[in-house]
């Protein structure tokens, strides 16, 4: 018991001492498995201590918003552009320097220079290989409203990446087309799930045939269970259904260590970090010329989800309104 108390005292003390020179605080919507090793490498190479608070991207964005001027966060790492967009809209991100922005090709960063993409995941249709003949898979995400997919499709309307997809749908084709697609899916007896992992597990068990998710989850599930009868299907020919969703990083506007914070963001765009994303997390690297994993279609053939919030009428709030209006989520 005494040792436990000592441990606790040590951790409380460590927390109290943070905020000194050469320590930065990261709020990370990417979980420890997907970014922790890189943050440790950063400390080892630069001597800068990194304190990390992990959580859901949306919750951490809310937290930074609520903390206001007193936010301890220096860097925000988000699992999807929605949460970053929320903070950007509220003026809580600080413009990044050109030397950071230039590391990432223009489609993978914010037009206002407030955040950069770190890695990418693409939207995909995961399917059960025992229940679905690949010849029956749709050529386009728009075909999922067809009668032949009635009751067979799993969706996660509350999921950030699904909402990002809807936002890009709006930007490319307008709110009417987006709403029509949402209504079409909602009318086709979709199976609603709370999140991507739940969809891939359900497809694997054969509870449902198809699911709209990010490509990561089926690869991850098969890494632990190679016999799981699931496979990713990538919509061909640059279809919007295979949209690339970036995971993003930005520097919080109230940081007292902007240089150290940018240094971390730059580190995450280096070859070492980008290789980690390609090899360890099955994602698309977005910088440093690192090649994506071989199981994924080439990046050049894929649409990218960077939307311009200034041009997008009603912002992300409008996306939520459309999903609500379509009846895809809730009654």
């Amino acid at each position: 018991m005494k040792r436990l108390v000592a441990l606790l005292a040590a951790s409380v003390l460590a927390a109290a001492c943070s905020g000194g020179a050469d320590t930065i605080t990261v709020y990370s919507g990417r979980t420890e498995n997907l970014v922790g090793p890189l943050l440790e490498r950063f400390t080892a190479e630069t001597g800068i201590d990194v304190e990390v608070r992990y959580g859901q991207s949306a919750d951490l964005a809310l937290l930074i918003d609520q903390e206001g001027d007193r936010s301890p966060a220096d860097v925000f790492i988000s699992q999807s552009p929605g949460a970053t967009g929320f903070l950007a809209e509220r003026g809580r991100l600080r413009p990044l320097g050109a030397e950071v922005l230039d590391l990432v090709p223009a489609p993978y960063r914010s037009r206002g220079g407030l955040w950069v993409g770190l890695s990418g995941r693409i939207r995909t249709l995961v399917y059960n290989t025992e229940r679905v003949d690949p010849a029956d898979l749709p050529a386009s995400v728009f075909d999922l409203v067809d009668e032949r997919y009635r009751g067979r499709l799993a969706v996660a309307p509350a999921n950030g990446s699904f909402q990002d997809f809807v936002t890009v749908l709006r930007e490319r084709y307008g709110d009417d087309v987006a709403l029509e697609w949402l209504r079409g899916i909602a009318a086709n007896d979709p199976q609603r799930y709370p999140k991507n992992t739940a969809i891939v597990q359900a497809v694997g068990r054969g509870d449902v045939d198809l699911g709209l998710v990010n490509h990561y989850y089926a690869l991850r599930a098969k890494a632990e269970d190679p016999d799981l009868p699931v496979e990713n299907y990538f919509f061909p020919d640059g279809d919007l259904g295979s949209l690339l969703i970036v995971t993003a990083a930005g520097v919080v506007s109230t940081t007292e260590e902007p240089d150290l914070a940018e240094r971390l963001v730059r580190f995450l765009l280096d070859e070492e970090a980008q290789t980690f994303f390609a090899e360890q997390t099955f994602e698309y690297p977005l910088a440093a010329g690192v090649e994506p994993p071989a199981v994924l279609p080439p990046l050049a053939s894929i649409e990218v989800a960077t939307y311009d919030l200034d041009r997008l009428g009603g912002g992300l709030e409008r996306t939520k309104e459309l999903i609500d209006a379509s009846g895809l989520e809730g009654p």
């Binding site: 409380v12 927390a15 859901q56 903390e67 991850r220 632990e224 269970d225 709030e317 309104e321 009654p331």
Partner: protein, 529 residues
């Protein structure tokens, strides 16, 4: 019944009244979450009436109430039945059951639901057992994970009732069922009511289990709107808080004021099950199989599968379990401190409500109780909201251990308070009167007479808070000192990205730690007697 207890006695104030100011002071703390919700709802300027009257609110709200009520009733039956079997009968292996039965409470609901979905049905460990989703799925998972809210306080109460009444009833020729219904049940009904209320409020607050069971509730609407439709999210949070406040307040009004002539003592009557031993054992085994053995089997299966897969990217297991040492220590300390603090902090409220019962004491008790119906994220954001605005040195508490404990105490205080209150209510006032006759002062009477008699209730309440804290997520993620990891946050992080082997091993450690802690801190004292 003494005439004096019917109305205020002009010569003597009721004992609880002296504590009421302290109780009210404590309750003010518990008003901060609802004040946050009200303030934010009003300042955001959303169309509150439109939000409240929309079917998008009413349908999920009705679903929430339905599943919470059904779960509460089921848990009342299951929890009470189990408590009676293991405490008051000669059920085989009852010592072991007493260690195992509280444990499902420590399984985070999203993990419990994921595991039960993986346990049963096509593609599961037991393919021949049907998989259930929707209302019945949510009802099943919530019942399996939350019956301990009833079981723990009722078992504590049953192990401290005096045998004399039951013996008298039996001598008078009552059959055993009659004795249980007429003598035993009335003595524990306060504990049953307290536990049932906790289950109901927990059912309202849950998001993990109901969402994975694909049952649409009000918490889904609150979560899904939190970023891009805050007016809806906060209005619905306020609605939930007000509803819970009304339910908690109304419970006091409808519950019978006349208290049974309960005694406290040791050396209970133990009933012989005889031929009923087989079905009774079957029932206990059944509950433990679904609520504990099935999730544990799935955890083990995940660990074996993950560690057998080359390149599974599962860092931890290869290097041993060292990576879980620090989170285990953090979890244990946070849970013990939260359990003890919540019990102490809510004691005056429980005392004032049980012994005084004026409107101020009842309002204080309702305030403490209602916070438990709020989703953890709402409570955590409320604490952030006020802590970040706190003046002067209070502001430095932000994201420190004491603030984290405060978050736990706010969210889970109801568990300690209701359990303690039920225990106090059933301690006969005659003991206190005897002490007074002998000239003992108020403080001495409380410490020497009442406190020892309610120790089982205090331990049970603290134990519930301890188990709840062990699995707590949102407050830990948002309020803990940066970098403070617990077993629950590790489980969440691994589950979020599909690292099931890591979810499995960490969950097994969590269940093991809970068994150890409940044994050392709660059960050891009871079982020794």
């Amino acid at each position: 019944m003494r005439a004096g207890s019917k109305g205020p006695d002009p010569r003597r104030r009721r004992r609880g009244d002296a504590v009421t100011p302290l109780a009210v002071a404590v309750a003010v703390l518990y008003a901060f979450p609802i004040l946050y919700l009200a303030w934010r709802t009003l300042t955001l300027g959303g169309d509150v009436l439109a939000i409240l009257s929309s079917p998008r609110t009413l349908v999920p709200l009705a679903n929430s109430l339905r599943v919470a009520a059904a779960t509460a009733v089921a848990c009342a039956v299951v929890g009470t039945g189990l408590a009676w079997l293991v405490v008051r009968t000669d059920l085989p292996g009852r010592r072991w059951w007493r260690i195992l039965l509280p444990l499902p409470l420590v399984v985070p609901s999203f993990v419990g639901a994921t595991a039960l979905l993986a346990a049963f049905g096509r593609g599961g460990l037991l393919p021949f057992v049907p998989r259930i989703e929707g209302f019945w799925g949510a009802f099943g998972v919530l019942t399996a994970l939350s019956y301990p809210y009833v079981y723990v306080p009722v078992a504590a109460r049953l192990s401290s009732t005096a045998p004399s009444l039951e013996e008298a009833a039996r001598l008078l020729g009552r059959r055993p069922t009659g004795v249980v219904l007429r003598v035993v049940l009335p003595q524990v009904r306060g504990a049953i009511a307290a536990g049932t209320m906790l289950v109901f409020l927990y059912g309202l607050s849950d998001f993990g289990a109901v969402s994975l069971m694909r049952y649409d509730t009000i918490t889904r609407a609150i979560f899904s709107a939190r970023l891009f439709d805050p007016a809806t999210s906060l209005t619905l949070g306020l609605l939930l808080a007000l509803l819970a406040l009304i339910v908690a307040g109304a419970e006091r009004l409808v519950s019978p004021r006349r208290r049974p002539p309960a005694r406290v003592g040791t050396g209970q009557v133990r009933y012989r099950l005889g031929r009923l031993a087989v079905p009774a054992t079957g029932a206990v085994v059944g509950v433990v199989a679904v609520a504990l053995a099935a999730p544990i089997a799935v955890f083990v299966a995940w660990v074996l599968r993950g560690s057998a897969t080359v390149g599974a990217g599962f860092g931890g297991l290869g290097d041993g379990l060292g990576f879980l040492l620090r989170p285990t220590a953090n979890s244990a300390i946070a849970a013990v401190v939260a359990g003890a603090t919540a019990t102490l902090v809510t004691l005056p409220v429980a005392y004032a409500a049980a012994r005084g019962g004026g409107w101020a004491a009842n309002a204080a008790a309702a305030l403490v109780t209602h916070v438990f119906a709020l989703p953890g994220l709402v409570v955590a954001l409320a604490v952030v909201f006020w802590a970040i605005r706190a003046p002067g040195p209070l502001g430095y508490l932000y994201q420190t251990f004491p603030l984290l404990v405060l978050g736990y105490v706010l969210h889970f205080g109801a568990q300690a308070m209701r359990t303690t209150q039920a225990a106090l209510a059933e301690v006969s006032r005659r003991y206190d009167e005897a002490g007074r006759t002998l000239g003992a002062g108020a403080r001495r009477r409380f410490v020497a007479i009442e406190l020892p008699l309610v120790v089982p209730g205090l331990l049970a309440g603290g134990g519930l808070v301890l188990l709840s804290t062990l699995k707590e997520l949102p407050a830990t993620l948002l309020l803990a000192p940066t970098g403070f990891e617990t077993l629950a946050t590790r489980i969440w992080g691994a589950a979020e990205d599909g690292f099931y082997a890591e979810v499995g091993i960490t969950s097994l450690v969590l269940v093991g730690l809970s068994a150890l802690l409940t044994w050392f801190l709660v059960l050891r004292h009871e079982l020794r007697r």
